[in-house]
Symmetry: C2
Subunit: 114 residues, 2 copies
Amino acid sequence: MTNTPVAAYEPPYYAAIFTSVRTEQDSGYAETGERMQELVQDMPGFLGYESARVPGGIGITVAYFRDEASIRGWRLHAEHAAAKERGRAEWYERYTLHIAKVEHSHEWVAGGGR
Amino acid sequence: MTNTPVAAYEPPYYAAIFTSVRTEQDSGYAETGERMQELVQDMPGFLGYESARVPGGIGITVAYFRDEASIRGWRLHAEHAAAKERGRAEWYERYTLHIAKVEHSHEWVAGGGR
């Protein structure tokens, strides 16, 4: 879970939208999630990530990357690939992944910049 | 809030990723959200929408559309525009919007199709 929207970077950049429904198995889930957050932050081209989940419902995680090469680097990361495999075996009931090229973005802050 | 991931449609299609932090003002928020959900479903090219919010933290809503024309139609919808204005005045502390063209997608379901 994160608490601040990722900034509106200068397009183009990439968004990986991962939407999931969890199983009831929690063993290792939080630890693995924290480890993935650590790892992704060291990936070249990583811009930021945001995540929210409805208790008992869907979760949405969006990770932003500078370009296709950096998103591919993360997809092929061995520890990440192992976590995905465990996710399918234990933690997820279903998920959808959309890989998208951001063409426009903007951000707005109340009061113009608090 | 929604309970099922939107399907992985055949690319290309568009995603509008709206990430926000709320104020503490709730008046009219839920009703307006429900009204927007009704309206967007009637927009030509609308594919689906998913939403999750961390209590006291960020919310992520992703709406999917077939093409740029349909996303523009929704942006210019008068009642939606009025809701956004009220959102900035009352309901949102900050938000970021990313408009992105989905190039790849896939979905996975435990057991292969329950």
